[in-house]
Amino acid sequence: MKKLILTVSLLVLVLVCGFAVPNDVVYSEGDATVKFQEGYMEDVYIGDVYDTGDTITTGYDGFVELDQEGLALKINPDTVFTLQEKEEKGETTGVFSLALGSIKFRYDRITGKEPMIQTSSCVAGVRGTEFSVFAGADGSALIVVDSGQVEVESEGRAVQLTTDEGVEVQPGEPPGEKFVVKLDEIQYKSWNDEKINRMLSDPSDAVQNILKRLNFYIENASEYHDLYNKLSEKLKTERQKMVELLNREGEEAAKKYDAEVVALIRDNTRASFLNNRYYSLAALSLRRYVAGRLYILLKAQYITKANDSGYQHFLKVYSDILSAFETSIVPYLVEADI
């Protein structure tokens, strides 16, 4: 029943508030697929338009360019990228969620309402016009600015980057020290290979960081879910009051009550639902593209020596991740998310 309510709410939300600005595919080559919010998948074609909840995945030879009214996004090979949204300071903000791979962003103009950019380890606020975001296999992120400014935030600490500056963020940690770098000096493959090697050399540390980040998402998803329940109840009560007012004092009084009281609660209810979904889907992305991939790598490497103590320790922490995810995030997901 709870799932049914979530599914219905999700559909209503999609109908009521799609992504503010559609993303048109202006170019596509090689292996590139899209998984729509409704759960089905198809190849990416030039001319397609994508909205909130849609995930684009490029293979080793895939490349997609999206256009979003003044913003060009170049999605490089081996990338997983989702269009999301979140409620921030009373407004719905678009979120570009990069689970894996790299994307180059180029803005023609900055309006102050640019979507946030989220990886498994940080959130970047856009003030600049040209920059790239790299998301590594271990959940870490690298942000490099070509021109303008970008603010990178993680674990309560923010770093401002300007032209030719970059910063790395490890999952569950604040941003590192910023450094001077040119975008053409960064090769995603070698940067990512280095992350994979480090992760494999100390899987226990890597899995602990993932668990820490997962707990952050769980905490937020749960907080917004409680708020959503509270506000839903309040909304029901206030709507009832509005009906009583309508019967007692007429339409004018009811409309006034709706505008002054009910509308605000309705907006806040919607916002808390949206943010619960945002954190739940961020957790799913972390589980699928960071934790899951680490599991696959280690499972394959240790398939002939499963009793190795390091591997067993990894499995123990990994099972904590699985059970935390199943208990605390799965109730907020729907089948279409899988």
């Binding site: 995945t57 293979g59 997983v80 899951g292 599991y295 394959a300 490497q301 799965v330 997901l333």
Partner: protein, 149 residues
């Protein structure tokens, strides 16, 4: 009394269907084991459909599937003398044999085909492996791998 030959015919027919199915299942585990044992990661990758289930993990990226098959071959994993323990059509509760979670249940419901089969094999060392396979007239597809356990 008149019905007896018909019943007998039905029984024989059913028995032969079951034995055809068993030999298909045996053929599938033999072929997949052979590909692993002879180091043919590319063929295994080509035979694997996305998304692919590895234990409790849903793999959605083609390169992860390729990495899985090539790595297990590189580290010397072999399926010694595989014997079919059982083969069954995938049912509503089969997901529990892989892992009891909403994700795996959804994977079974959403991504497997009506004729997909769950095959359990035992190796000469006593280890077991679960495979999810769909075998049609012209294609053999691997959807899942669990084990060895």
């Amino acid at each position: 009394m008149k019905k007896l030959p018909l019943i007998l015919l039905l029984v024989i027919l059913l028995a032969s269907c079951a034995s055809i199915q068993r030999s298909k299942d045996e053929g599938n585990i033999k072929r997949i084991s052979e590909l692993i044992n002879t180091g043919q990661a590319e063929k295994l990758t080509a035979m694997t459909e996305l998304p692919f289930l590895l234990d409790q993990e849903i793999i959605v990226l083609a390169k992860d599937v390729a990495t899985f098959w090539s790595t297990i071959i590189e580290v010397g994993f072999k399926v010694e003398e595989p014997a079919l323990e059982r083969g069954a059509k995938v049912g509503p509760e089969s997901y529990r044999e892989f892992y009891d979670s909403m994700e795996v249940e959804t994977f079974f419901k959403k991504y497997l085909k009506k004729q997909s089969r769950l095959l359990e094999l035992e190796t000469s060392t006593g280890q077991r492996i679960l495979l999810l396979v769909t075998d049609t007239l012209f294609t053999r597809t691997i959807h899942g791998f669990k084990g060895p356990y």
